[in-house]
Amino acid sequence: MTPSRVAFAAILGKDLRSELRTLQSLPAMALFAVTAFIIFRFGLDRTSLSGSLASGVLWATLLFAAVLGINRLFVAEREEGGFDAIRLAPIDRSVLFAAKAAALIVYLVALELIAVPIFAVFFLDSAAALGPLVLVLVLTDLGLAAVGTLISSMAVNSRARDLLVPLVLLPLVVPLMIAATGATEPLMIVGGPGYHRFGTWLMVLGLYDLIFALIGWAVFDFLLED
């Protein structure tokens, strides 16, 4: 049995390497986010945003951009026989869940490194919100990665995979988005970052991350059996 740490590093490294070489997901996610900002600029007819509008635009865009990456997360495994290889390999199957979730976190962080500064340049009056926003982003990424990996691994083995990911994922992440926007809104309010109920929302995010990470870890075995 290969130690889980080694297997984790190998799968994560493989994923990041293949993404770097093919650039299948990340450029599309980033491009989508920037285009969505432009559409919001004209759809809302605002040149600067604050408060709930700012946090709504930011999170709606990040979520839909994330769906693009989540859709493609297991496509290579399915098309190139990666699932069979994992089943044959002498490793704990839950490692695949952890490694794929870690890869998704890397994609999300890369997306946010591009999209959030552009959002700030486009719409925000001051960059003061970005510091505490990092905490919200990190916690939300963890939750998105846990749920996204779980749903993506189920959807990829179905006939309607591109359809199923958004369909099933969006209701599941509603609590995550409630907490993320709830924490972000006071940060982007006019007159500097506010912290109304900031800690409470971070705790909700953390609880969500924990629950779905545990569920994903527990049920992932059943998704790989055949």
């Binding site: 779980l150 959807a155 309607a160 099933v168 609590p175 709830g182 409470t200």
Partner: protein
């Protein structure tokens, strides 16, 4: 293997009779015993339908998740059928809960839909999530995998229900009547009694429908298998839709 529908049908007759009786008692109590609420008048009586429908649906979703855990642990397809039917009936109850809730909201708050109302919104989100159970399930062709993935979905969604209620409630003000808060505080004993009888009636209805649906599926599966055995011995096939019940 044949004749197993007896198993699902066991106790169905007394259960059905108990359900009919419970509804007779509960409707009599609602219309002739429970007092008229002073603020809302007659429309408040929809409370005895709306709340039990919603509670039964939510508990039914969680029961579906427990059946799904049983399926994943034992690998017995019977539990997948239970889980599927439990979720199916709960979705139907949830539609009833949403419609009665909407009518009640229109009558007492003046709007068909109230956004700053956490219970209504959480319920809608949970309902939407469970609506995706069907396209999800039928998009997977392999029957073993379909059953396993549907169970994973049911477990995940079952854990999602309380989390979602917590998050939505935190995000909004509290205007919804709290059933259990008022049960201790404001609600008179006669209303509470009527409510509990009504809740029992709906729980019995849910259980009866669950058993009927399983018997029906099981009988249909047997007929199909027998017909296939007559037409072409040795081949067995099954419908793409709905779990196979033996």
């Amino acid at each position: 293997m044949y004749g197993n529908s007896q198993m699902y049908g066991k106790g169905l007759r007394p259960l059905s009779i108990a359900t009919v009786l419970a509804f007779a008692v509960s409707l009599s109590l609602i219309f002739f015993y429970a007092p008229l609420e002073t603020d809302q008048g007659f429309i408040q009586k929809i409370f005895y339908l709306h709340v039990p429908l919603a509670i039964t649906a939510l508990v039914g979703f969680v029961v579906g998740a427990i059946f799904a855990v049983a399926h994943l642990r034992t690998d017995n397809r019977k539990w997948d059928a239970y889980s599927y039917v439990a979720i199916h009936i709960s979705v139907i109850f949830a539609v009833g809960g949403l419609i009665t809730g909407s009518i009640w909201a229109k009558a007492s708050w003046g709007h068909w839909w109230v956004w700053n109302e956490p219970t209504l919104v959480s319920f809608l989100i949970v309902f939407l999530l469970y609506c995706t159970y069907y396209p999800f399930r039928y998009a997977i062709e392999d029957r073993d995998r379909q059953a396993r993935y549907a169970s994973v979905f049911a477990v995940t969604a079952g854990a999602f229900v309380p989390l979602n209620f917590m998050a939505v409630r935190m995000a909004q003000s509290l205007v919804h009547p709290r059933v259990f808060a008022t049960a201790e505080g404001g609600m008179p004993g006669s209303m509470l009694l009527t409510f509990l009888v009504s809740l029992t009636a709906f729980a019995l209805l849910w259980t009866t429908l669950l058993k009927f649906e399983l018997v029906a599926k099981s009988a249909a599966g047997q007929v199909r298998r027998l017909r296939l055995a007559l037409d072409a011995p040795g081949t067995a096939s099954s419908s793409r839709i709905a779990p196979e019940v033996h």
